[in-house]
Symmetry: C2
Subunit: 80 residues, 2 copies
């Protein structure tokens, strides 16, 4: 089951868990996410295993959430 | 600083944190690790950000640690 993003604080971050049917699907998503990170120069923290990926998006150090992070989150969702 | 593996229990697992100078070095390691996982059909839990990777190796469900996991850990170390 895929869940929407959850906003958390201390430190400020958005988190989302995504589950996949198999490792191949997980890999395809991670590769697309890597391409997106390279293009935007934004790097979420990522935890993954065979069939899941946990994403954490944080603002740049010393910054607060803004349009850049909202846009990044929306682009991640489009990969799914 | 790179640390050796730490064995933990409940649940049984080995953990290791590896740090890299930049995202490119992190990516190269993750790709080599992916090739190793495909070859051995063993999949650690992986957390990573721009310049770090945290690895957790668990035994197969219902099993205890054995030679297979020790061998897998040694092969991961050889990637570094």
């Amino acid at each position: 089951m895929n869940q929407p993003w959850t906003q958390r604080s201390r430190p400020d971050r958005f988190e989302r868990r995504v589950e996949f049917d198999d490792y191949e699907a997980t890999r395809v998503f991670l590769e697309r996410l890597n391409d997106l990170s390279d293009r935007l120069d934004k790097f979420p923290d990522i935890s993954f295993g065979r069939t899941y990926v946990n994403l954490t998006v944080r603002p740049e150090e010393g910054q607060v959430f803004g349009e850049a992070e909202q846009s990044f989150i929306a682009e991640i969702d489009e990969l799914l």
